[in-house]
Symmetry: C2
Subunit: 201 residues, 2 copies
């Protein structure tokens, strides 16, 4: 991805928003850079000033899509006046709902995320690392407040993250829908017990 | 797959064992039915009496490979004189170790399992359903013995199964190796707490 110019923030954002909409409407694989440029009434060459390839545009859209989920998780994880167990429960339900809405409800977006995962490991890696950090912060806080009772908060947070992979990983969500599975609410209670939560309410 | 004839059991088994060995040594994608026949000093036509395609041979090998894991889990789940928590702990460690040995340690076997998962959903589905049933039986038994304290043993067992997907699903094992993750022993303790295990020893 090239360094953005001075007029970059708006145009970059416009390109990503338009690409996102076209990916949803026409499908990621059918959308061309020329389509995106035409929608914005600009030349393809101008799009290429901001993104050197369709892959870069896809990365940008995936980054926004995943960033929105992580932003929402962060809000749940740090909500004031809520216990750590209540915050974790809300975080997991949010993660499941947003992942389902983004990755499963629209086959076209699923294709885009699949390609993003195949081509743009960095974007996915950063998202996984950010989710990990949010969960570790929350579990540490819960341990410090005496609301979770485990010896190793970091390992506990990673167990929670691994435990919900069928509720947030595009390919695993699709596969686990084929089999009977626990609801996210049941999984959240399981994870809370796994962390030795003192409060269940 | 065709119905086996009277001389079938041995020849079928020989074909599968030879195919399995060649998949390991040469690689699944490079092994032809002619290679398998040549190793067994029989004609390809004779191999086709038992398996109508290479896909059927692959299914047979995958079924054996997965069946061996499920057999081992069943032994751990029903070990006499062990508490349910001890049996679950042993089962999860066995699942993780056997999956790692079969799906990750050999890139060629990984290719075979990947193709089996893409082409032979039935084989994989039966394996997942069998693992589910083994876990449900064990968790129910533990609840009946008062060693687990959860209201819905079936949902609890499915939470355990989902929680360990990164330790037994070929694609997820490969992906989760890229990120920091909890050990299977830490995950087993997490799952035991998740089931409200009374015994931790």
């Amino acid at each position: 991805m090239r360094a953005p110019r001075s007029d970059a923030p708006d145009t970059r954002g416009d390109i990503l928003a338009t690409a996102h909409r076209l990916f949803r409407e026409i499908g990621y694989r059918k959308t061309t850079v020329a389509d995106i440029a035409a929608e914005l009434k600009m030349s393809p060459a101008n799009v290429y000033r901001f993104f050197d390839s369709k892959k870069s545009i896809n990365e940008g859209v995936a980054e926004r899509l995943l960033g929105e989920i992580a932003d929402a998780l962060e809000i749940e994880a740090t909500r004031p006046d809520a216990t750590a167990p209540a915050r974790l429960r809300a975080l997991l339900v949010t993660l499941s709902a947003m992942s389902e809405e983004r990755f499963l409800s629209n086959k076209r977006m699923y294709d885009m995320v699949e390609d993003a995962m195949a081509e743009s490991w960095d974007v996915c890696d950063r998202y996984v690392a950010r989710c990990d950090a949010i969960l570790i912060g929350l579990v540490r806080d819960g341990c410090a407040r005496g609301e979770f009772a485990i010896e190793d908060p970091e390992a506990g947070a990673r167990c929670v993250h691994a435990a919900v992979v069928c509720y947030c990983h595009p390919a695993m969500m699709a596969q686990s829908q084929e089999h009977p599975h626990a609801s996210i609410e049941q999984m959240a209670e399981f994870a809370l017990r796994g962390l030795g939560a003192r409060e269940r309410g």
